[in-house]
Point group: C2
């Protein structure tokens, strides 16, 4: 058992390049005195010091044990639903069984971009169309007119007609129903002002399977690397680990609002190459998760040129394209940017990920999404199609929703005004919530927080005392995990420790969504402020 | 380029154990005179002789080429949507553009278990509940009473209440909504007469992701093997290949109605062990795909004992549990069989896969399913949960449908009679279609076809002449592929060559679904018969 833990530790350690970003000298070095003598980009603490190894026994009655499963599975982490969330779920059960047993009466899940779980209502038009296409028999009944808007009925007819045999319960083409891909392609063209081929669209159950597909395609061995931002959304680190590749980190510059700087990309690429890593792709998340920045168009052009020069696939996570909250920034797709630079199919290999889970609609549970795949040769595209076909197709309701998101009601449609009002209310409220939480974080002692220009998150930095860091070490956990668990136990607010996303070693952050209902924000701010003051007092050096 | 092809060939060759089953001497040996000098269990022909390598160029403008992607992706095959289906799609486009250009006026897709694509109507009650839970605002409106059955409204209320915050658009618990898992567990208990823990249920987007999860968990390297039936549903071979493991074949005995014999399992297990393969699991598909047999309970007991003795995980594909067509056979879940033998959690590690795509409902496009996971230690189960959490959750409509399938209307419910009539009509018609096609195949010269006791397929064997085999070799394809392409071009009927499923070397089969609408079956039979007679005459030795 000890040997496995040591092996895992070595593997994790070896896998992180540990190249520090330019600004790292501004941060306190990792304390040599702590019980944690080294570190990876992502917290290995949970695995090294706690379960699952504590429960392993060599006389297990089970043929499958933690010692003999795929080590890549053991190694993979996904903090958004990790240890802190498990603790929160236990607290919630406890609150139900013993009301009043904790200093709060509800758990506030700020760990995950899941708007409807926190009371956001779905967009009415989208749900009307979904209900009608789930039960097309309704379309023939006169009572339906009184229950649904006219344009929802018309759209559902269109969609049902686009599905071969009107079979909404059949497997579709493995890339998704052709008519729905036509609609999505038209939406992309309208967004970008450049052509889009429906055959470039691969519809998926949310964006996650699309990311896995690309990692599976590109990663041949542990010598293949993927450039990923740090901090990053841990789907990327998890997927790279599961597919046996190497995460090559590039650091976003917190001091310049999580800037993505080309010299940093070059430095990390060269460092990876010098270690024998073949770097295949660059992941860019725009708007940023967990960092909330929106890239400037000029910056995007430089990124496109970098990928072109270095022969990297540009994997553009654009799932927050509708979530921009500041007037001075605008979302531009990487496809639009590269086409506006005059680059076509043969110049840049680009994959754009989109999801119905984000935006103003937040339809996470529907698991709809697509990737737009451009700049691949015909034979590689055939392989991508084959991979899609092994899983048959993505779910049809998600496919329908993805087409609606890319083609919402237009001026003159019966639903247009109510749709615009629902959308506007949600986005304006998200912008206000982002600003209120940002201001609140920046008022806390030792905390700085960049603006959320977009996406659904804030990623404040907390400067922790040596005493707090030591206390975390005594509990065999990382300082940010220690802080987040204390916060949860005191307030019921669930946030995710920065180590789940990666951060400059020696700095500590957490990710907090901007999604709690607006009327709950003041209480969250006051509970968080009160907790933070007490925490800082308790652990003052 | 030649080197890559040679490497691939060697790899494919090395990966097949080439242990022949007992009855293999009954079949003609593989013709040494053909241009195909060796063979794997699954057809390597397409990759060795045709695209994608023909289009590869070393001066490709693309950074990603077929030479530098993950070789496991290249190696993986999925014939159900493979070459013959691509040809069919092209013919379909051709028919639309130039009606009358072929000797048939429609393509009949008998390649895939996709009932609703061939005109099967969905179960009304299921769709009513789905529509109501997609747009819960309907539940508050009085007009809804006139459009939906009372029990569908009541069930939708129950379901919406089971979802935290009534948020049908939120990510659920990564295993699926707890209340829906409770319903499924109750359905399993009713089916089996043994307890089921809702925490053992992991809901998935169809059964495919569940199978991938298990392969990812169990396969550490190419030295890990999974015992799979031959013939098998090619999801298994594809998933094992993608995860870098070794398919250890065991042959079903065609002469005894695709019997699954323990001595054959033992022989193949020992052979694999002697080659240094660590065999982790046994896949059993019951009812069988593509073979249609339903296992006898006594046989299942022996399989359970075999897994227990050998320390193998039993991966039970039970997605066709509702599809049994013969009175003398009954479906028994492996969980029920093992519990009835007195084996509990600590005695046997068992995963049962279920899907909403099959049964009498055939809701393929909804991508609902679950796996019931028993006999794993707490720490391994934690790893399975973590893998599920990386993809957040499966789609909620699919989850709802899975709960409905396991808990359909009961006696006394308003929908009960219409539900039973819809279900009965579909299953009785499937039984008639299976019998008609089976009889038709058995009347063809050189063709024998076992009964479809269950599932949705027939897997007839065609004995081909040396002349036909030589003609296939001249076209660089396998004899069964040659036959199926000829059949398609002559009749528009799409079936899948046996090489996509694996077959005793030197024997040739195809898989044909029993799903075309009943009124189309006579035409299919006559077209197929006419084609077959001509084919046999043309290639008579």
């Amino acid at each position: 058992m000890r040997k496995i833990a040591a092996d895992r530790f070595r593997r994790l350690f070896n896998r992180s390049l540990l190249l520090l970003p330019r600004h790292s000298h501004n941060h306190p070095p990792f304390p040599a005195s702590s019980s944690i003598s080294s570190h990876s980009l992502f917290s290995p603490y949970r695995f090294l010091f706690s379960t699952p190894f504590s429960s392993m026994a060599s006389d297990s009655p089970f043929p499958v044990t933690a010692q003999n499963i795929n080590p890549k599975v053991l190694e993979c982490e996904y903090a958004v639903r990790g240890e802190v969330v498990t603790l929160a779920q236990n607290l919630q059960k406890d609150l139900q069984a013993n009301p009043g047993s904790h200093p709060f009466d509800e758990i506030l899940y700020c760990n995950i971009g899941n708007p409807q779980s926190l009371g956001q209502a779905p967009i009415t038009f989208f749900r009307e169309v979904l209900a009608l296409s789930d039960h097309p028999a309704l379309l023939d009944k006169s009572e339906t007119q009184g229950l649904f808007s006219a344009d929802a009925i018309e759209r559902a007819w269109q969609i049902v007609e686009q599905i071969p045999g009107r079979a909404t319960g059949a497997y579709s083409h493995s890339q998704g129903v052709k008519g729905l891909r036509d609609t999505i392609a038209a939406g992309i063209e309208e967004r970008d002002g450049f052509p889009c081929n429906p055959d470039d669209i691969f519809m998926t159950d949310g964006a996650s399977p699309a990311v896995h597909n690309m990692m599976q395609l590109l990663i041949r061995s542990e010598n293949d690397g993927i450039l990923c931002p740090i901090p990053q959304y841990p789907l990327y680190s998890a997927s790279i680990t599961l597919h046996g590749g190497f995460l090559v980190p590039y650091y976003l510059d917190e001091a310049t609002g999580w800037g993505l700087e080309i010299p940093e990309l070059k430095k990390q690429l060269e460092a990876a190459k010098s270690k024998g890593i073949s770097v295949r792709a660059l992941v860019v998340i725009n708007p940023g998760n967990p960092t909330g920045q929106v890239l400037a168009e000029e910056n995007q052009r430089n990124i496109v040129d970098f990928c072109k020069q270095e022969g990297l696939v540009l994997l553009a996570d654009e799932v927050y394209q509708e979530n921009v909250y500041v007037p001075e920034k605008k979302f531009h797709s990487f496809k639009k940017v590269s086409r506006s630079m005059g680059y076509g199919e043969n110049d840049i290999t680009l994959v754009s990920f989109q999801s119905v889970s984000k935006g103003y609609h937040g339809e996470c549970g529907k698991r709809g999404g697509y990737m737009e795949v451009t700049g691949f040769s015909a034979d590689v595209r055939e392989q991508i199609y084959k991979m899609a076909s092994v899983n048959l197709c993505s779910n049809i309701s998600g496919q329908i929703l993805a087409s609606l998101v890319m083609s919402p009601p237009k001026v003159g449609d019966e639903s247009y005004e109510s749709y615009m009002a629902e959308k506007g209310n949600i986005l304006e409220s998200l912008a206000r919530r982002a600003k209120t939480l940002e201001d609140a974080f920046n008022k806390l002692e030792g905390v700085t927080c960049n603006k959320a220009e977009g996406a659904m998150y804030l990623f404040p930095q907390i400067r922790l005392s040596q005493k707090a860091i030591k206390a975390a070490g005594d509990e065999n956990t990382s300082p940010d995990n220690f802080y987040c668990k204390r916060l949860l136990n005191a307030t019921g607010v669930v946030v995710v420790p920065g180590s789940g996303f990666g951060q400059v070693p020696g700095t500590w952050h957490f990710r907090c969504t901007i999604l709690p209902q607006e009327e709950k924000i003041p209480a969250i701010v006051s509970r968080l402020t009160e907790f933070h003051e007490k925490f800082m007092d308790e652990f003052r050096d």
